[in-house]
Symmetry: C2
Subunit: 548 residues, 2 copies
C-alpha cells in the first residue's frame, strides 16, 4: 500500500522525518511543505555566522530543495505555507507564497513539524523599533548580518539571557560591539540554578557585557535606540536582539481543533500522534513529558526534534516507535565557558515538591599536574532514598560536555548515584583523573546517602551564623585573604585534631573549606570524636557564587 505522507516544515524535525520515510519506503509519496525559502538549514549555527565564526553562509544550508528532492526522490515545495488542515477529507490547503495561489493536497498521514517562533510581546514602542530583530531562520540572520555590516553598529542590546541571547551576545562582542544584556529574571540560563548561573554572570562581565539582571524592558523609544527598563534606567543602543523565548507554531493544529497543552503546544501521545491518529506532530511545537518528573512541558531543542522525526517515520511504517520523554539535556558555549545541564534543576524540583538533595563539587577537568585543565563546577541533584539522579548542571572551561553527557546516559540507564562511583571512565592525564569528576560526584552524593556526612547548602549558612551557629573554616589563613564567610572561625584542617578542645560538643559544628573536600575530611574527624559536624556543601566557592 503506497501511503501519501505530507509534512509541514522542512527543517530539523520535518527533514529528518522525510529522509527516514524514504529510507523505510521507496514507494511512499512524500510531499514536504516549507513556508520559508530554505529547508534543512542549521538553525543552531545562525549566531555564529553573524559573528563570523562560521564564515560562509552556504555552510548553514545542509540540503537544498533540489538536492534533497533528487537524493530522496521526494516532492519538496518551499515558499509554500500550509494554511489549513481539512481533517474530515484528509487534505491540507497550501498557499504558494510566490503566486499567492491556494490549492489542496490530500494525505494519508500528516506530519506537523512547524517549529516555534520567537516571542514578541506588545512592549510600548516595539512597532517603531526598526533596529529590533529576532532570530529563527535564514532571512532573520541575513537581516541582522546586513544591519550589523552596513550600519557601523557600536552598541547592541540583547533582551533575554537564554542560550540564543547569550550566543548572540558573544557573537556581537566578537564583532567589537558593546553589548548590554537585559534579563527580567535574576539570572541568565534558566536551566541552571542561581548559584551556577552566577559563574556565567561573572564571566559575561569579564568579557565586557553589561548585565541588567532582574530588570525587564519597559518600553522602547526613538525607534528603538533607547531601551527603558523597569528599574527606571535606560540603555542607548544601535540595535536590539529580542530573544526571550519561543512559542509553538500551533495555528494549524488549533484551527483543526487538535488539543493544545502547556504553553500552547500540540498534544501528542507516546507515538507522537495528535488526537487525530493520522496527524503526527513533532519538534518544538509539541508537548513532551518531562523524563524526570513526568509532567507535561515544552522543550524546544534540536535533539528531540531529530529523534522524533525519525520515530514518526518508523511509526508510520509500522515499526515500533515510542518517544520516552525529554530530559532537556542542553548546552551552550558562553565565551570561554561551557554551560550544560540535564534533567531537573532545583527550582523545578522545589516547584513540584519533589524531595531531593544537592551536591556541588569543583574538580579539575583532568589531572591537575597536566596543563590545560580547569575546574568544573558540577552540581548533582538526587533522591536521597533511592539514589535516583534527578538532574545535573555544570559550568567550566573544558570537559563540561563530557560530564553532562555521561550523567545523562547514566540517567537513561537508571543508574543511581552509587552507580556513578562504578563508572569506568577513560583515564589518562590529558582527559580526566583516576577518579573522574563524575565518579567524585558519585562519592560525594553516596556519602550523604550512606550517612557518612551531613551537609548544609550555601543558602542556609548565613542564617545559621545569624542564629549563633558555629562555623569553622578549615582552610589555611592565607586562603581566607581572598574571601571567607563572615562569622566563621578558622582552624586549618591540619590542626583540627589538636584543637578539638576549642570546640563545644553540645552544639552542631558547621565546617567549611574551599570546595567541600577538606570540610568533609574535617567532618569525618569531628564526627568520630563525638562532635556533631555538618559540612558546608561545595565550600566557600559555592557560597561565594551563591552570593555573587
Amino acid at each position: 500500500m503506497n501511503q501519501k505522507i505530507v509534512i509541514v516544515g522542512g527543517v530539523a524535525g520535518g527533514a529528518t522525518a522525510a529522509a527516514r520515510l524514504r529510507r523505510l519506503n521507496e514507494q511512499a509519496e512524500i510531499v514536504l511543505f516549507e513556508k520559508g525559502e530554505y529547508i534543512s538549514f542549521a538553525n543552531c549555527g545562525l549566531p555564529y555566522y553573524i559573528g563570523g565564526t562560521i564564515p560562509q553562509r552556504d555552510k548553514l544550508l545542509l540540503q537544498s530543495v533540489e538536492g534533497m528532492s533528487k537524493k530522496f526522490n521526494m516532492d519538496i515545495r518551499n515558499l509554500s505555507e500550509v494554511i489549513r488542515i481539512d481533517r474530515a477529507n484528509k487534505k491540507v490547503v497550501i498557499k504558494d507564497l510566490r503566486t499567492n495561489n491556494e490549492y489542496e493536497e490530500s494525505y494519508d498521514k500528516l506530519i506537523l513539524s512547524p517549529g516555534a517562533k520567537p516571542i514578541k510581546p506588545a512592549i510600548p514602542g516595539i512597532e517603531d523599533a526598526n533596529n529590533l530583530f529576532t532570530l529563527r531562520n535564514i532571512p532573520d540572520t541575513d537581516k541582522i548580518k546586513s544591519h550589523v555590516d552596513t550600519n557601523n553598529i557600536k552598541k547592541a542590546v540583547v533582551i533575554g539571557g537564554g542560550f540564543i541571547g547569550l550566543e548572540m551576545a558573544e557573537n556581537l562582542v566578537d564583532l567589537g560591539i558593546d553589548v548590554s544584556l537585559i534579563e527580567a529574571s535574576n539570572q541568565v540560563m534558566a536551566p541552571l540554578d542561581s548559584e551556577m548561573a552566577a559563574m556565567v554572570h561573572e564571566h559575561l562581565v569579564q568579557k565586557g557585557v553589561t548585565l541588567h539582571l532582574g530588570d525587564g524592558v519597559q518600553s522602547f523609544e526613538a525607534n528603538g535606540t533607547k531601551v527603558n527598563v523597569t528599574s527606571g534606567a535606560h540603555v542607548d543602543t544601535d540595535m536590539i536582539i529580542l530573544s526571550i523565548g519561543v512559542t509553538p507554531e500551533n495555528t494549524l493544529a488549533k484551527d483543526a481543533d487538535l488539543a493544545l497543552g502547556v504553553r500552547g503546544t500540540i498534544v501528542v501521545n507516546e507515538h507522537l500522534q495528535t488526537e487525530d491518529e493520522d496527524i503526527y506532530a513533532i519538534g518544538d511545537a509539541i508537548q513532551v513529558t518531562d523524563y524526570v518528573n513526568g509532567t507535561p512541558t515544552m522543550i524546544p531543542l534540536a535533539w528531540p526534534a531529530n529523534r522524533q522525526g525519525r520515530l514518526v517515520a518508523d511509526h508510520i511504517n509500522g515499526l515500533q516507535a515510542t518517544y520516552n520523554g525529554t530530559m532537556g539535556t542542553a548546552i551552550a558555549k558562553v565565551f570561554d565557558l561551557t554551560v550544560a545541564s540535564t534533567g531537573n534543576n532545583e527550582k523545578t524540583l522545589q516547584r513540584l515538591n519533589i524531595p531531593y538533595r544537592a551536591i556541588h563539587i569543583h574538580p579539575v577537568s583532568h589531572a591537575g599536574y597536566y596543563p590545560g585543565g580547569a575546574p568544573i563546577a558540577l552540581k548533582l541533584l538526587f533522591d536521597e532514598q533511592t539514589g535516583r539522579i534527578l538532574g545535573a548542571q555544570a559550568v567550566g572551561k573544558t570537559g563540561v560536555d563530557k560530564r553532562i553527557d555521561v550523567i545523562a546516559t547514566a540517567m537513561k540507564g537508571n543508574l543511581t548515584v552509587h552507580d556513578l562511583q562504578d563508572l569506568e571512565l577513560a583515564y589518562a592525564p590529558p582527559y580526566s583523573s583516576a577518579k573522574d569528576p563524575v565518579n567524585m560526584a558519585g562519592y560525594v552524593a553516596g556519602n550523604i546517602m550512606d550517612e557518612m556526612v551531613e551537609t548544609v547548602q550555601w543558602h542556609e549558612i548565613d542564617e545559621i551564623i545569624a542564629n549563633g551557629g558555629i562555623v569553622v573554616d578549615v582552610r589555611e589563613p592565607i586562603e581566607r585573604e581572598a574571601g571567607y564567610i563572615s562569622g566563621t572561625l578558622n582552624i586549618p584542617l591540619g590542626a583540627i585534631r589538636e584543637r578539638l578542645t576549642e570546640l563545644p560538643k553540645d552544639k552542631a559544628i558547621y565546617v567549611s573549606c574551599q570546595v567541600g573536600l577538606r570540610g568533609y575530611l574535617a567532618s569525618r574527624i569531628l564526627t568520630q570524636h563525638g562532635y556533631k559536624a555538618i559540612n558546608v556543601d561545595g565550600g566557600y566557592k559555592t557560597y561565594k557564587y551563591g552570593h555573587y
Copy 2:
C-alpha cells in the same frame, strides 16, 4: 574494636585505601609501607615530565610522606620493603632499605597494592645495554630525564607500542629526538583492532616516528647502541625505552602461598580478598573479571586501582563493597590523536568465540559547519540477538574521550544499541550534532538488528571481488581519484535509481561509499527495488585503514 591495618604499596591503590580507611575510622591503626622513596606520585604523568609538558618535577608528587602522615594521622614508612608475610601469625617482615634492618609488624588486615613491574626479558645483550630504561616510578623517570638532558641524545628506540611506549615516543619527539618504535606484533595499542590501529600508525609516521611493526627485538649490541630486529635489520640508537608490558609484583603473595591466576596475578574474590580473608589485594597486581566476557584477566590501570582501594577500605570497615569487574576502559593521547576503547575488541571476542557484529562510522566530532571539528572513527561491537554492547573503540582528534565514556556508561547501565539512539546528549554546534556520533552508532547498529540493511566488513570484500562479486562504489567519480577498492563499478548514489537496470537481480550487489552512509542509502533503494544489496560497513575509509 581498633583494627591494625597494614598496607603494602603507597601509590594508586595503597594511598587511596589508606585515605579512605582513615575517613571511615579515626581510631584504626594504619601503617603503610612503600619500598620506594616516594608515595602517592603521578605514575601517569611521568612521560610528560620527561618530555617537558609538565615542567615541574614536584607536580608529580601528590602527597609527601610527612604531609599525608599528618593529614591522615597514619604511619607511613617509605624506603621500607615488605619482604615476607607470616600468615599464621598475621605479621609482615619489613626491610628498612636505609639501614638494611629487618623487623616485624603485626596486622589485623593486610592490603597488598604492590603494583606491577616492567617486563624485562633476557634478550641477548640486554645486561650490557646501559642506555636501556624502563619506566615505572620517579627514580626511573629521573634516570631517563638525566640521560636525555646530559647526553645530547639524537636517536631513541622505543620497544613496545602500548600506551606507555607511545606516550614516550611522543615525548621524546617533543624533545627533538628521532624515534624508532619497534613492536613485535603487527600493530600498536593492543586494545584496538588492526584497522583502528592503522590510523595511529599513519599518524605516528606523519609525526616522524619510524615504525618497525611485526618485528621483534633479536638482540642488543654495542652496549645497546645497536638494536637488531628479527627481520634482520638493525637500528642504531643513543637510548632505548623498553615498554613491552608489565608483570604483577606477586612475590610476597606467592611466597605466602596465596593463589595466583592469569599472568601471575594475585587471585581475589569480589570483595578483593585473597584466599586468606584477612589479606586483601588490589591494583595492577590482581586478577580481575572481565566485565564483558566474564573471564579472568589482568588490567593494570589507574581507575581500577583507585576504585579497588576505596572498596577495600569499605569492606574492612564492614560496609557493602563489591568490585564488579573491569571493562578496561582506556585512553591515550598519541600526538594529535586521542585513542580510546572500552570493553572487548574483535580479537578478544573471536578468541572467546563470542558472537558479535561490528560497525564502523566516521562522524564529525561536532556540527560540520562549526570550526574545529574532526572525524571520529568509531567502532562498536555488539550482540546481534540482544543488542548488548560488547565494546567500542574510537580514534580522532577531538571528542573521542566523551564518546567512549558515554558508551562505557551505557554498558554499565546495560543499555542496548537501540538505547544508544535514545541517549539525549548535549547538543550545540561547538560540541556535537543533533544526532550525536553515539546516537548514530545506535542507529547504524540498530539497522542491522532490525534487518534494515545487511553489511560486510572491510576484510571480507577483497575475497568477494576475487570470487566475482559485484561491488558498486556509489561515490562521485572525483572521490575515486583519491583511492577506491579495485574491482568496483562506479554508480553515484544520485544516479542509482535511473541506472538500476545495469545491475543483475540474481546476484548480491555489494555497495560501498566513503564511510558507509551513502552505501546504506543505496542499499535501501536497491533492496526495495528487489535487489539483494549488502553495504560495505564503514565504507572505503575503513577499508583503506584495514589495508594500510
